[in-house]
Amino acid sequence: MKIPVCRLADLPRGEACRLDSDPPIAVFHTEDGEVYAIDDTCTHQDASLSDGWLEGCEVECPLHASKFDLRTGAVDSPPAKRPVRTHQVLVEEGTVYVLPQDAPTGLPRQPPGAAVHRVEGRA
């Protein structure tokens, strides 16, 4: 399933948006111009990671400051202990798409780096 998210031009660098899928997905446009998608809900409590603090390839949860790596979903320190799932992102014809992965939330993540694949598009 390939879900359109928004025009890349409508998602400025350093910003994020939330896809109201089930479960919701957060899509980030980093300062370096990369686009990543991870589960939006923090694995600690019910914070929305798209509301968080984006720095490099990491997002800090807006509530209790655990940081998640956008590339792998890994979490750096408590209070969150489990990684988030990462999802594949495609940018085609200036539109951002997410290909949600099927693995249930909370299952072991895939090997680092395998999840996110960026296809250059015309922004």
Binding site: A47, S48, S50, D51, G52, W53, P62, L63, H64, A65, S77, P78, P79, K81
Partner: protein
């Protein structure tokens, strides 16, 4: 540095131990804590844990399989620190042993203040530790009337949780406005309206004269003569830093262990972190104890850097203090220092909806921000404050 002893095995102590290893320290590491438990998280003790929504396993702060290659001395109380020689210190333990270390991290946190004369009555609680929370949870399960003394964050959270559990709740606050210290009068009064919104009585401007009861508490007697019947009482009147054990150590102890802006004390080789430490805050030009989770989690990295480099390097300035509180389903977030603010304005949302973002300013410059509920604008402002802070200090 061959041995580092961390005294206090909770959030700040564990964060310091982690930072030591992350920053390449591979010597002997001793963690000393007086509680029998492995490090656990306190914020849920007044929220999900008290409500019975999560169990003790969920409180653990260590990751599964995490190994810091440390010697854990749990159930061991530190009773003294000898800092006689410059290069080596001794932590004396209650059982007579002593731990010799070249570097010391003080992370003994804070202990709840109590009401004089309230000892010995069943049904009277403070809330700081897991054991406190277990006992309080058992009493709340009896239902009935709860009186919370103190409308600070912990008192308000307990009131909120107890209300959700169906108890009849009254909160008593000696000050005319709750939360005036951390939030200022205007916002303190606004936030404390959450109590009334949810059917909790808030009585302000009257202190507690005594607790009455035989064996078990039966009533709270107020300074103005009123008598509140109570089945359970929670005393949430603040905490004092656990620094008694440091008497005679030569450390500067005012309100907490006095430190510079990187956690260094006046004794070389000794740093202090978390609720027990009063770091110098460049933003306000004064020492302050920051009794919040995020400070205890983040600041140890700077203190450990200062400890390991022998005081030569200048660690990165910490971000402005930040805390959250969850009350009655509303999320409260605050960052910065509001003590010297001369104005506060609601910039997004509406105070009447209890969903807004307010900015505190001092001479026109933003110094703090308060958010009720939507986190996104709050995060944006928190970032702005952090950026402004590092510009003025660096």
């Amino acid at each position: 540095m061959k041995t580092v002893a961390v005294v206090g095995a909770s959030l700040a102590g564990l964060s310091a131990a982690r930072s030591l290893r992350e920053q390449g320290y591979d010597g002997r590491l001793v963690l000393i804590g007086d509680e029998p438990h492995r490090p656990y998280d306190r914020p849920p003790l007044s929220k999900e844990f008290l409500a019975g929504e999560i169990d003790e396993d969920a409180l653990a702060l260590e990751a599964e399989g995490e190994d810091l290659a440390a010697v854990w001395e749990l159930g061991a109380r530190a009773v003294g620190l000898d800092t006689g020689s410059r290069a080596e210190h001794h932590v004396r333990l209650a059982d007579g042993r002593s731990v010799r270390a070249h570097g010391i991290v003080i992370a003994t946190g804070a202990a709840p203040r109590t009401l004089p004369g309230s000892g010995g009555l069943d049904g009277v609680h403070v809330l700081r530790s897991l054991d406190d929370a277990r006992a309080l949870r058992a009493d709340l399960a009896r239902g009935g009337r709860l009186v919370v003394v103190g409308a600070g964050f912990i008192g308000a959270e307990v009131a909120s949780t107890a209300r959700r559990l169906g108890l009849d709740v009254t909160v008593v606050e000696a000050a005319p406005t709750p939360l005036a210290g951390p939030l200022g009068r205007e916002m303190g009064s606004l936030v404390s309206r959450l109590h009334a919104d949810h059917g909790v009585r808030l009585l302000c401007g009257t202190g507690v004269r005594a607790l009455a009861g035989r064996g078990r508490v039966e009533a709270v007697l107020l300074g103005d003569g009123r008598r509140l019947a109570a089945d359970t009482v929670v005393v949430g009147v603040g905490a004092r830093p656990c620094t008694d054990w440091l008497a005679g150590s030569g450390l500067d102890l005012a309100d907490g262990v006095r430190c510079d802006a990187a956690g260094r004390t006046n004794v070389p080789g000794v740093v202090a972190v978390g609720d027990c430490a009063a770091w110098y805050e460049p933003a306000i030009g004064a020492h302050r104890r920051v009794e919040h989770w995020t400070g205890a989690r983040e600041r140890p990295a700077a203190a450990v850097a200062a400890l390991l480099c022998g005081g030569r390097g200048v660690p990165q300035a910490p971000r402005p203090p930040y805390f959250w509180s969850d009350q009655y389903g509303t999320r409260i977030q605050f960052a910065g220092h509001c003590a010297h603010a001369d104005s506060v304005t609601v910039e997004e949302g509406a105070a009447a909806d209890r969903s807004f973002l307010a900015v505190y300013r001092s001479a026109g410059r933003p110094v703090a921000v308060l958010g009720l509920d939507p986190p996104r604008p709050f995060t944006r402002w928190r970032r702005r404050l952090a950026g402004a802070g590092s510009r003025t200090t660096g």
